[in-house]
Structures are given as C-alpha cells and as structure tokens.
C-alpha cells in the first residue's frame, strides 16, 4: 500500500486543493519579497542610473513599466490558456481555478500597457492613440480578459462556467502571436521589438537591466497575487470539505 501512495505522489498530489492551499500560503511571502526587491532596484536603476534617451528625453522611462506590463499581459494569457487546456483535457479543478485567478491580473497589466502606451505615445508620436495593428490587438486582449471574466461571472454552475470560459481562453490565445508579431507583419506606428532572441538589444545595458528587473518584479507580483486569489477560490469551492472547516475554524 505504501508503494501505491508513493507512486501517486506526483503532479496530481499538488493538483489537490487540500495540498495546494497551505503550499501556496507558504510561497506567497517569498514571491512578494522578490517582487518588492526587484521592483525597488529596477526603479532605482531606471530613474537614477539609466541615462536620458538622446531622442525621446525622459519620457522613455515609461518603457520600464510599459514593456514589462505588455509582456506580462501576453504571458499571463498564454499561461491562462495552458491551464484551460489542462482543465479541459484532464478535468483538474485546480487548473480551472488558476486560470480564473490569473484573468483579473492579466486584465490589469493589459490596461497598464495601454494606459502607459497612450502616455508615451503623446509626447513621442504626438497622439494618444492610433488604430494600428499593435494597439488594436492589445485592446482586443483587454476585451478577451473582460469577456472571459464576465462569462465566468454569468454562469452559476462552476463546471459549466469552467468549460465555457476555458474554450473562450483557448480561442482567444490566437490573438497573442498577432500582438507579438504585429509590428513585423504590418506597417505600424508602434516601434519594433527592442529585444529579440536573435539580435543584440538596441538599448543601453542599464536600460535593459532596469527593464528586466521590472519584468521580474511584475512576474513575481503576479504569482503572489494570483496565489492569494486562488486560495480564496479554493476555500469557497471546497467549503464542505473537513479540512476547510478546520482551516476557517482554527485560522482566526
């Protein structure tokens, strides 16, 4: 019997809400701590070490949050679609809860990317907004997140909500490569990628360092806040389980 239990110890073990709940609780402070440290160092380098851009002046400093938020907005959607796939393929409830917990943070980063983009576009291009491929497809991403969230909110039965929203997440994921490659495929006002896998970065090393630190900060923040959110969802969905009753009884 003991060998059976050892064999079962695997991904399914961590996919059990009961195991995942305390584990997530222990991980949150670590991710939050790394987020704060990277964010503070990133801001320091971004404002005090990275030089003024010779073309754009100081407004380019918006990049450190604009590009980081835009990357997160796409990355979170892809992770959400992966969890949706795991849910549809293997019926793992925790995967559905993770997908649902990622969406609000993804929507916030998408809004941040659009907002900071408008504030960067005004002094750089002379306009807050243009309907070019990059901006339009990023706006579509925001609507996909909002549509996903309202679909989940509109269906009362958790299983039906999970299936329907997972399908929406999967259909919408085609938009992510469209956003990413839009600056290559179409003639856009938006500038091309500043960093790519194949070419050396087109910016100063200190600027790149600040951008990478801010991206790590946003990423770790996302993990921390999503784990916090999913813990509430786990309690709600498993409210009849004995361990939840013990948790809410003893955790005061």
């Amino acid at each position: 019997m003991s060998t059976e239990t050892t064999k079962e110890f695997s991904w399914y073990h961590f996919a059990s809400p009961r195991t995942f709940y305390p584990l997530a609780g222990k991980m949150i402070p670590w991710f939050a701590g790394v987020a704060v440290i990277c964010g503070l160092i990133g801001l320091y380098i971004g404002f005090f070490v990275a030089p003024t851009d010779y073309q754009q002046g100081e407004s380019y400093r918006i990049m450190f949050i604009h590009v980081a938020a835009a990357w997160m907005s796409m990355f979170i959607y892809v992770i959400m679609a992966i969890y949706a796939t795991i849910y549809l393929a293997m019926n793992v409830r925790l995967a559905d809860m993770m997908a649902g917990a990622l969406a609000p943070t993804g929507a916030i980063f998408t809004f941040v990317a659009l907002w900071t983009g408008a504030l960067w576009g005004k002094p750089t291009w002379g306009t807050w907004w243009v309907w070019d491929a990059r901006l339009t497809s990023e706006l579509l991403l925001l609507f996909l997140y909002l549509g996903y969230l309202s679909l989940r909110g509109a269906i009362d039965d958790p299983n039906r909500a999970a299936k329907a929203s997972a399908l929406l997440a999967l259909v919408g994921v085609v938009n992510v490569p469209i956003i990413y490659f839009s600056v290559k495929w179409w003639n856009t006002l938006h500038q091309g990628a500043s960093i790519s896998m194949t070419k050396a970065p087109t910016m100063a090393a200190t600027m790149l360092t600040a951008l990478i630190l801010m991206t790590i900060a946003f990423w770790m923040y996302t993990i921390a806040v999503v784990l916090m959110r999913v813990r509430s969802d786990i309690l709600t969905r498993e409210r009849d389980a004995t361990w939840v009753l013990e948790e809410i009884g003893g955790g005061k």
Binding site: I62, I108, G249
Partner: protein, 66 residues
C-alpha cells in the same frame, strides 16, 4: 546621477505628466489589487465561518433528538 535637484527629478525634463501619470496609475492599480484580494480573502473566511456555524447550530439539535 541624472538629476541635479529634486525639482529636476520631478519635472522629468518637461515630461512629468506622462512619466508620473504612467507610474502613478500603475502603482494605484497594483495597490488596489492587493487591497481587493486581501479583503476578498477575509470576506470569504468570515462568510464560510458563518455558514459553518449556522450548519452546526442546525445539526446539533437534530443529533440530540436522535
């Protein structure tokens, strides 16, 4: 060091509105999300504790009768 004084830092070379408008709104949204998630956590715990109590109050007399 890029800035001669604090005033120069806050002026952002004439782009203060754009730079601080970007960082300000981002900071507000992140703080708002943390507050929102934390209050949801607390509400969930309280709601579930109330539900469990209500159920316990109902179950106990039934058990006494039996």
């Amino acid at each position: 060091m890029n800035w001669g004084s604090a005033t120069e830092f806050f002026a952002m070379g004439g782009h203060a509105l754009y730079v601080w408008g970007s960082y300000g709104v981002t900071a507000v949204l992140i703080i708002a999300e943390i507050v929102w998630v934390k209050s949801k956590q607390q509400q969930t715990r309280q709601r579930l504790a109330r539900m469990a109590q209500a159920r316990a109050a109902k179950v106990v007399p039934d058990e006494d009768k039996a």
